[in-house]
């Protein structure tokens, strides 16, 4: 049996009480939070939540509640979408990590992501931060990915190094396997 789930996204200027307000509405609708990511992105608070909801609870009704009850008060843009498919397990692969830092310029994330996509790598986590202000500001990118067994990690590492030189940034590419104790 597939338990009904919805994806909730909300974005607004950061302020105290956003998480309490949004999750309050979800609790009143019988929702149960599963995987979530919530963070401050450049002064905006961004929420992404996968929520298990009771049978018969519609994404539309939940969105309306969120918009009416907390959207205006908290200055949030809210969207709720049903999740119909069971995503199952992600693609098989070995865990690797990419870290990058250097002077910011347009196209860094795309260039790295395209290179990884060419090798069939699946990005499972990615975050970036602008460090400092003004024309000299730096950029930091941290990425977790899953690399298919048939991909040539050494060659990918070489190509990422070449890309780093081209972009004028530092890139580190390393296996990221955990020790289970």
């Amino acid at each position: 049996m597939i338990v009904p789930h919805v994806a909730v996204t909300a974005l607004g200027n950061d302020r105290p009480g956003i998480v309490a307000a949004v999750t309050g509405v979800l609790v009143r609708h019988g929702g149960n939070l599963e995987d979530t990511a919530m963070t401050n992105l450049g002064g905006h608070f961004a929420m992404m939540l996968v929520v298990e909801v009771p049978d018969g609870e519609s994404a539309e009704a939940l969105e309306r509640s969120l918009v009416d009850e907390v959207g205006a008060e908290m200055g949030l843009t809210v969207a709720v979408r049903p999740i119909v498919d069971d995503p199952g397990a992600g693609p098989e692969g070995a865990p690797w990590a990419v870290s990058l830092y250097g002077a910011d310029r347009p196209g860094i994330v795309h260039a790295v992501a395209q290179k990884l996509a060419d090798y069939g790598a699946n990005i499972v986590d990615l975050s970036t931060r602008v460090i400092g202000r003004g024309p000299e500001h730096a950029y930091v990118l941290l990425m977790e990915l899953s690399l298919p067994a048939n991909a040539d990690a050494d060659q990918l590492g070489d190509e990422l190094s070449a890309l780093a030189a081209e972009l004028g940034v530092e890139i580190h590419f390393r296996p990221d396997d955990a020790e289970i104790l």
């Binding site: 865990p95 396997d177 955990a178």
Partner: protein, 154 residues
């Protein structure tokens, strides 16, 4: 059980030795396990076993070690590494652990033993000793966004 500090053993008696055998059986039986602490098998006593033999990240290696009432006498500066735990399925996290340490505790012969461990063996000792304090690696992750889903990679 996993979240409360364990009671000391005090003296290595038949109960302690029987616990040690259970710990070793569990570790050997689990195949890929490099260590088991007593609270992981439902016993709230300060005892663990470790064996990092053949592990690619091991430097020091004392083979199968059983320790009761272990104390970390000295530890070096920490290093960050990714850890998971058999008692916490699905998740892994980045944890800072001393790269070398000196540990003292009672062995199965009832005598005090000293161990100088480093690299992976040091990480395993600290992970197991944390269990005796009621701490999981989740209590130690360096930042709340450094916890990851293990099954992604399977």
């Amino acid at each position: 059980m996993l979240a409360v500090p364990c009671a000391p053993i005090g003296e290595v008696d038949d109960v302690a030795l029987s616990l040690a055998r259970d710990l070793l059986d569990t570790m050997r039986g689990a195949g890929h396990s490099v260590g088991v602490a007593a609270p992981q098998i439902g016993v709230s006593l300060r005892a663990f076993c470790v064996d990092v033999t053949g592990h690619r990240k091991a430097r020091s290696c004392h083979g199968e070690v059983v320790l009761f009432d272990p104390v970390i006498v000295e530890s070096s500066a920490p290093e960050i590494g990714r850890e998971g735990c058999m008692s916490v399925p699905d998740l892994t996290g980045d944890v800072a652990r001393a790269t070398s340490l000196h540990v003292r505790g009672l062995g199965m012969d009832g005598e005090l033993h000293d161990y100088d461990v480093d690299a992976f063996e040091a990480r395993a000792f600290q992970h197991e000793i944390d269990h005796l304090e009621g701490l999981l690696f989740l209590d130690r992750v360096i930042a709340d966004d450094r916890v990851f889903r293990r099954r992604m990679y399977r």
